[in-house]
Symmetry: C2
């Protein structure tokens, strides 16, 4: 198999945010996924799911230089040097984003979602309904990630 | 934004199965994800996660005709006609597959996984470690999907 051959895709829509200045990492924020008008009918029935996976193309990253194979999570030298596939860094061979979002509403070709960490204008590649086959009760994760999660939790508590 | 512009990607590796005849829908089966040698280092640290998301390109589907916007799940006329984004059909505008798999072992550039429903030779686009942010305890799903899940359960019980 020629695994290096180019694969072509096209956007099915894009992400629309209230402002380009929003902190997209804040998972409480609400944003919209605007699907191309010619594909609106392909959303029929998605509104019966509480959650969906948004698969998107991190176009701002795609303009950058070739990626490193190893990174420190969040650029923190105190955390281990890891392969990019062991992290969610945007700097990866194919800059694909994957996020489980809560579906709040559908109106025609627009989905209102909570928790999408994608920039305003990000091209969307696919949407998939989330079901129980995608869920694991207690996935095992490494120590560095548990540390980051604990830090986030403390930060949220101290803010409110 | 020109949402119709082409997006280019390339395979980071491919799926290797024991046989082309395997029933890829059987989530108990074990298969391999063979990553390109030049990207092997990008896997470092992934072995500390119990589960990962495989994002792949359903190349056999990509050769087919343009897709319909609505389908009956599993082609069953007794189930509602739904938009393709409300289903996991392979016939979608971008034939991207997304599956949560269990990571059993990594050896150099090869991952041994359980539950990957991709054909032998399928190009892989990205791998992402699964963590608790990707999990929802009880996602709401439509009645047609609960019916399909119940049927699968009964079929499994009757086989064993």
């Amino acid at each position: 198999m020629d695994s290096t051959k180019q694969i072509q895709m096209e956007a099915i829509g894009y992400v629309r945010r209230k402002s380009k200045e929003e902190d997209v990492k804040d998972r409480r924020l609400i944003s919209e996924i605007v699907i191309r008008n010619d594909l609106a009918a392909a959303l029929d029935g998605l509104e019966d799911f509480s959650h969906l996976y948004a698969i998107f193309y991190m176009h701002q990253v795609a303009k950058e230089e070739k990626t490193e194979l190893r990174v420190h999570p969040r650029g923190r030298a105190d955390l281990p040097l890891l392969g990019v596939f062991a992290t969610r860094t945007a700097f990866r061979p194919n800059p694909i984003g994957l996020t489980l979002v809560e579906l709040l509403k559908r109106k025609d070709n627009v989905l209102v979602v909570r928790g999408l960490d994608a920039l305003d204008g990000t091209p969307v590649l696919d949407l998939k309904p989330a079901d129980t086959r995608d869920m694991v009760a207690n996935p095992r994760v490494p120590k560095w990630l548990r540390l980051l999660e604990e830090e986030s939790r403390v930060r949220r508590l101290s803010k409110h």
